[in-house]
């Protein structure tokens, strides 16, 4: 198929209910800038849905981050995300502007939206990529873990736009000001006769935002099955408080009711990349390690010296959490 898609890279800018743009957008933007260079300096553009007047608040950020064009849809209805409205309007935008690549954050929202867009465009979508590159043929080479992280697969796409999602915290934000004169293009909201068949009737904001806390944590202490019970997690919390860490958990610990689902790290939970990750009573099942193996330094405490967690830890301490941590807290 000849590539008539040459309007660069389009990124979905997810805006939450409070009006903040999700950090995964800035992470994708940084990576997209790198890809754009490899494609010979193509544009990096964004699409965002806003309430009326809201776009002004974002203009400076988009320019400073080096976004070439921002396509925005303005409507009262866009305070909340809507699968039906957003996918329909983005599909129209893509058909008209023909980006070569489209990137979406693999948040709950992005994972809901991206497959509807790729499906309607009959194009390919690679989920949860950990690496994005341009190959020798100028194609997007999207690398992702598969089979619980045991294997990495590099996936290519035969159609355009080549679409990919990336989890938060996989790529880094570029802190350097990258100012460009951004072009802001308002798009018509063509939703005549369409009514969203999903209606939000109630919303309860996360009281304690464990999700964001884990996302930005410099130190994380996480507990698994080896912490056995509530007392184990209480001890973990005391340990966390003492060293200024956030608390994470494995899926098993969440299923045992020892930690909230929002604290879950791994394949079915969050991906985290703190400076120090301390795994306590965690065996190191691949489903968990996939979410934390890119932490800068991993310390593991486990009384089973054959636990697989020691294979991926920088510092492995073979010992009993229930003996070591109380002693640590005494000092």
């Amino acid at each position: 198929m000849p590539n008539e898609n040459n309007s660069g890279i389009l990124i979905y800018a997810q805006k939450n209910r409070d009006g903040y743009i999700h950090t995964v957008f800035f992470e994708l933007l940084n990576k997209a800038k790198e890809l754009a260079q490899k494609l010979g300096g193509v544009d990096v553009n964004a699409v965002i849905f806003t309430s009326p007047g809201q776009i002004d608040g974002y203009k400076e950020a988009f320019s400073n981050m080096g976004v070439n064009k921002v396509f925005y849809f303005e409507d009262e209805r866009f305070k909340n995300y809507s699968t039906e409205y957003y996918s329909k309007l983005i599909v129209e935008l893509v058909k008209e502007t023909r980006p070569e690549i489209m990137l979406v954050g693999a948040t709950n929202e992005g994972r809901d939206l991206a497959p509807r867009i790729s499906g309607a465009l009959a194009t390919g979508l690679t989920a949860d990529c950990t690496g994005l590159d341009i190959n020798e043929n100028g194609q997007l080479a999207a690398t992702r873990p598969t089979f619980g992280g045991q294997l990495m697969a590099t996936i290519l796409c035969k159609t355009y736009p080549q679409m990919a999602t990336v989890r938060p915290n996989v790529f880094k934000v570029n802190p350097v000001n990258n100012y460009v004169q951004t072009e802001f293009i308002q798009r018509a909201v063509t939703l005549n006769g369409i009514n969203d068949r999903v209606e939000i009737i109630e919303f309860k904001k996360n009281v304690q935002n464990v999700i964001n806390e884990l996302d930005s944590a410099e130190i994380i202490v996480a507990g698994g099955r080896g912490l056995k019970n509530e007392a184990g997690f209480k001890l973990l919390k005391q340990f966390a408080d003492k060293i200024g860490a956030s608390v994470g958990a494995t899926r098993v610990a969440v299923e045992m009711g020892l930690a909230p689902q929002s604290a879950q790290i791994g394949q079915t939970g969050k991906t985290v990349t703190p400076r120090i990750y301390i795994a306590c009573g965690i065996s190191g099942a691949i489903q968990h390690t996939i979410g934390m193996e890119n932490s800068a330094h991993i310390i593991a405490i486990n009384n089973d010296e054959n636990a697989p967690i020691f294979d991926i830890a920088d510092t492995g301490i073979v010992g009993d959490f229930f003996e070591i941590i109380p002693e640590f807290l005494k000092e």
Binding site: E84, T146, T154, V198, I299
Partner: protein, 260 residues
């Protein structure tokens, strides 16, 4: 309410084999039901209990060995089962899979009200097949579903996890939902359920049965393909210390202080 339940068999082994085309070899590998599809099954059964006259038809796409999984789910209280199976389906990505499953549902259960899927499968972990099916059927979707609040003939009220909190949403049927919850206690099959399930006929749907052309199936019908697969190597240096408690505490302290 006519419910289509979509489930998947996933390999239960660390010994993954790949074909020459770099797609996953499924034959000869021991398989289990995808854990999230157990939650989907539980939710479908819960809806069936709440809305009288409901029935559940289970769909799976895969090789003939997936039949054993279908029988287990029938034993839990599902009514019918469909195995979507054809060599031509091999190597399908989420786009081609969505196209195939949506066709099978259209063919076997054209008057469905609700499609229930697990949020994702633990092998591919894409979370894309559910929305892909919904796209091909042009029906609304609700993903990351936690629980059902109310089920009526024409609407469902559900709770779902958004990125910033919990939403309660009402969706007009027909619709597709992807179930995320980890809180249901899996049901045990009833003895008479097992007996009746073993007698039930499992309908097999091939490519011809669902009226798809070979160009739209499997690897051919997939916009994406695996160009290479390689082992994931850890870059941590795996130093292990086995010491007394005090030395362990000292090491821990030293590492945390040094890295802070």
């Amino acid at each position: 309410m006519k419910i289509a339940l979509c489930i998947k068999q996933v390999p239960d082994t660390t010994d993954i084999k790949w074909t020459e085309n770099n797609t996953i070899q499924r034959e000869g590998v021991e398989s289990v039901i995808n854990p999230y599809d157990i939650y989907a099954t539980e939710l479908a059964l819960k809806i069936k209990e709440q809305v009288s006259g409901s029935s559940i038809t289970v769909f799976t796409m895969g090789p003939a060995q997936a039949e054993s999984m279908l029988r287990k789910v029938l034993a839990l209280g599902c009514d019918n089962a469909v195995l979507i199976s054809d060599r031509k389906f091999a190597g399908a990505d989420t786009f081609a899979t969505g196209q195939t499953i949506s066709r099978a549902i259209r063919t076997v259960l054209p008057d469905f009200d609700l499609i229930v899927c697990g949020q994702f499968a633990v092998d591919g972990d894409t979370a894309q097949t559910g929305p892909s099916i919904a796209n091909f059927l042009d029906i609304p979707q609700v993903t990351y579903v936690q629980d059902i609040v109310n089920a009526e003939e024409k609407t469902l009220t559900l709770t779902k996890t958004a990125d910033d909190g919990i939403e309660t949403v009402r969706v007009t049927l027909p619709a597709l939902i992807c179930v995320m919850t980890q809180q249901f206690e899996p049901k045990r099959p009833l003895i008479n359920g097992i007996i009746s399930a073993s007698k039930k006929e499992i309908k097999v749907c091939t490519m011809e049965d669902i009226g798809l052309s070979a160009e739209k199936c499997g690897l051919k019908g997939s916009p994406t393909y695996v160009s290479k697969a390689f082992r994931n190597q850890s870059n941590h240096n795996a130093q292990k210390f086995k010491m007394n408690v005090q030395d362990s505490v000292n090491l821990l302290k030293e590492k945390i202080e040094g890295l802070k």
